[in-house]
Symmetry: C2
Subunit: 331 residues, 2 copies
Amino acid sequence: MEKVSLKVIARELGVSAATVSLVLNGKNKNGRVSEEMSQKIIDKAAELNYIPNSLAKGLKMGHSKSIGLIVADISNVFFGTLALHIQNYAEKEGYTVIIGNTNEKLEEMEKMITFLNSRQVDGLIITPAEGSEVLIGSILESKKPVVLVDRGFPELNVSSVLINNYEVCYHSTRLLINKGYKKPVFITYKQDQFHTNERKRGFVEAMKDAGLFNPYHVKEVSYQCLEKDMEKAISQLLKYKRKVDAIFFATNTISMAGVKSLLKRGLLIQKDIQVMCFDETDAMNLFPFKVPFIKQPIEEMAKRSLELLIGQIENKDIKPRKLFLEAKLIN
Amino acid sequence: MEKVSLKVIARELGVSAATVSLVLNGKNKNGRVSEEMSQKIIDKAAELNYIPNSLAKGLKMGHSKSIGLIVADISNVFFGTLALHIQNYAEKEGYTVIIGNTNEKLEEMEKMITFLNSRQVDGLIITPAEGSEVLIGSILESKKPVVLVDRGFPELNVSSVLINNYEVCYHSTRLLINKGYKKPVFITYKQDQFHTNERKRGFVEAMKDAGLFNPYHVKEVSYQCLEKDMEKAISQLLKYKRKVDAIFFATNTISMAGVKSLLKRGLLIQKDIQVMCFDETDAMNLFPFKVPFIKQPIEEMAKRSLELLIGQIENKDIKPRKLFLEAKLIN
DNA sequence: ATTTTTTGATTAATCGATTAACTTTATACT
DNA sequence: AGTATAAAGTTAATCGATTAATCAAAAAAT
């Protein structure tokens, strides 16, 4: 079976490939191609089940109509959901999405960028790994359209779609305090990323403003040994039981590990200890108790970041924009 | 900044593009290019940060070194994990993965296939939607390499990587019975897909062999109204409480909905009622009770399906193979 | 001194699609 | 009649990389 190209259609119909291309791209106005021939071409293309070769098109046009999405780990629900929505919107705009995983590693992120560039992606949407400022900077220099999502670098003049991490954490902590929990603890990752720092800052400021802050109100766990660190952290906290009446977990993975640890100890959540967390986890729906959580507008994050990216791609002169979407506490 | 192509390197060095290509592809043996010039070219390529244009290469070579992965929903952990592993292995083999979602819909699956074909993917890995035999058949006819994963069509002569759904469910049910649960109920999706049918068959046969089977031991819920149907199913089952002492959920999503419904009613799982399920859910780890579950070898499924696919791609004459991997009950 | 081989590189066609510039024929206008 | 305009296409270059076929010069063989 011969591969069906423009040429094949042209040959069958006794016209030139140019004519076929013109018609199939809707550029047959202004008396370029007759109505009659146009119809013949369209029919023949359908008959032969012609599928345009987008490699050839991309090569000629200088764009591939594809974008790269670089996330930490596609098997994480947050990123999976983000990817799903980005793909859905991208499809509507005629773009393909190629997804890459970094596993939070700088070198893998770099490899992915080179890889995606070789595939001529028209732009990149990235959840940058820790310490990747320089890498992002070099993308910026190369003028390749790029948008950061979920995490950003405030000192970098780059488009990004973030959420109001500081405000929502400040507000939520405030709420906790107002409800009478005067000894809450914030558990977060031991890492230096803007978004997690902002969450922590939200908590800390709220505590300070209420005159309650003490350094031991913040605990940090490592990404690599989450379970183990969490065990340690919780058991430490429980030693000073009178000092802790609530825990605020900074991410979905931390929440899971934390709640698991608490339950294992036979603690009654929202009774023995108040729990609040960042991100939704369907596990939380299973419990007889309600866990307030901060819900990120994932679909909107997807939509906005794609909008910003396509803006850059199709209209080169656009300036970097930093969007802050609103995450909300759901009680 | 000029785009760096083979031509640019060639010009800078005063040689032809052909020479550069030869060197950069390691085809400079047999006195094709001198050692000296080779080194110069390699150095210059590094200096200019040359990244080959894979659209051009793909166009010329007739393959894109990319594969399409079509799943139901990338935000589902099962598919997310599968995608992660497929991508990891694919990268090692030099292939890119483009992921598409079908949302279990036939027409979306068809659209994705056309889309991926236009991007000249070298092959497809698919978790086929219900009723897509004909579609898969037409891919087969077109000689495009394809591997089904997770779900298959026994009547189709197509490579697939499945698990021993029947056996593992038979065995698990048997175990349940032997432990003294003589009135178990199997809750599955109301759909006609081979893999879910096999799971059901495993349950039913085990029950029959134990002389315990009755049609009401199987309940079906719909994919679209899972929560609502589950509520109905559970409340029906509880009416005849003496008749049910265990529930076997057929998938991860069903398990979540089922357990949620049971807990809402204040039932003590593994005490008032025994629960067993297909697939791991990290939510299950949170409970003070252990839920036995059937663990699929997702990473191996990923690896094998990629192996089969690449086999087809790089060695056209290979015959379709059907692999059945072993899923195990974890207690 | 020729002829043959080896070494080191170049030429030019090709993959499939796009499009500016051109050609040809028919029709309209003054 | 002679010129302008419109209609309906075609030609040919191009995107970047690959590679079979070729070529030129130097070295080796006869």
